[in-house]
Amino acid sequence: MKTQKLFESNSHTWLMFGRDDEKPNEIIDTNQYIVISNKNALLMDPGGIELFSAMLSAVIKQLPADKITHLFASHQDPDIISSLGLWDQALPSATLHSPWIWESFIKHFGMNNITYSAIPDEGSSLKIDQVTLEFIPAHYLHSSGNFNVYDAEAKILMSGDIGAALESVDAPLYVEDFDEHIDKMKMFHQRWMPSNEAKNDWVRRVRKLDVEMMCPQHGRIFKGDNVKRFLDWFEALEVGLVSKAKAEA
C-alpha cells in the first residue's frame, strides 16, 4: 500500500493511503486518509476488513497506533468501515465519528471498545489539538446519511464517494486531464447517487468552501481548477439513473 503526503504545516499533516497492489482482485481499491496533529490523529474511512493488515502496517510506519484517537466513517458501507471490529481491538480508546442514522447498523461490524460519536444531520466540527475539521453534510451522495471532512487550513475536502472513479491500482494519484477522467466516473455517479436535489444542494454548499484539493475514497484526487471543473460537471450531471448509466458506461 502506498503512502502519499498531501499537506503539511506546523499544526498538522494529511496523508493518503491507497493503491494497494497486494489487495485481492475482487475488492474495490480504496483511498484512506489521515490527519495527524501534534498528539492525535483522525483516520478517515479506514476501509474494509480485507484491507486491515495492509492499512495498519502502512499507518504504523507513520505514527504510533495509540496516537490515532479518532476514526471517521463517512457512511456505513463495508469498503468504508467493515474493518471496525479489528480497529476496535487495535484502538480501544478511540472515538468513531459517523452519521447518527448508522450507529446501530455500523455496530454490527463489532464495536465493544470504541466510542461512537454520532454526527447530526446538519454536520459538526471536530477539534484535534490546533486543527479544526468540519463534517460537511453529503447526504444521499451516495448513502442516505453521509458526510465529507473539510479542513479550511489545508483547503482539503475528503469527499468520500463523491468524485470517485473505478480504476486499477496503478492509476495516477491525481486527475491530470479532467475531460478524459469523466468516462471513469460518470457511471459511478449516475448509478450510485440517487438524488439530483441532494447533489445540487451539496454542490451549492461546497462552492462556498475554499477547496484546493478534493479527495475521494476511490480513484484520483482533484487539485486546483479540477475541483471547480468537477463541481460544474457534477452539477450538470443527471443522477439516479440505472439503464442510461449502464448503456453509456
Binding site: 486491515f52 493488515s53 495498519l56 502496517s57 504504523i60 497506533a65 495509540d66 479489528l86 487495535a90
Partner: protein, 203 residues
Amino acid sequence: MSELSNNYFVSVAEIAAKLDQATHIAQQLSLTASNARAVALRAGERAAGFRPLTDFIDRLAEITIKSSKNINKLAAALSQTSADKERADSAITHFNIVFTKAKDSEFIHSLDEVFERCQKKQQQLNQSYKRQIFRLSDELAMLSSELRNAVILATLSRVEASQAGIQYQDALINVADNVEGAASKIKDHIHYSQQMVSILEEY
C-alpha cells in the same frame, strides 16, 4: 449425517440445531406417554401392568426434554464463544501480519499492549471454549445413558401390550414402537453431536 464443517464455530451451531431437533422429538415422546395413559385406562384391568409404564415414559420424556434444553443452552453459549474465539483468532492473525509487514517501523511497539490484550482475550476464550465443550460432552453422555432405559421400557411395554387383549394390543404396541423410535432418533442426534464434540475438543 452431514460432514463436520471446516469451521468449528459453524460446527457448534450445527450441534445446537441437531439438539433442537432432539427436543422436538422428546416433546412428541411426551404426547406418546399421554396417549398411552388414555389407552391403558380404556383397556381397564387387562392393561393394569401397562399403566405404571406410562409414568416411566413420561419421566423419560421429561428428562429428555430437560436435558435437551440444557444441552441446547450449552451449545448456544458455546456457539457464541466460538464466534468470539474466531474473531479473536482473526485479530491475532491480522496483528501478526502487521508485525511482519511493518517490523522495521519505529512505532511497531505501540501495538504491543493491544496485542497482549488480544492474546489474553484469546486465552480466556480458549479456556471458556474447553470448559464449555467439556460440560456439553458430559451432558450428552448423561442423556445418552438415560436413553438406554428406553429400550427396556419399549420391551416391557410390548410384553404388557400382549396382555391387554386384542382390542388394545395394537395401540399399546404402537406406543412401544413410538418410544423406541423416538429414543432411537434422539440417540442418533446425540451420537452425531458426540462425534462432533470429540472433533471440536481438538481445537
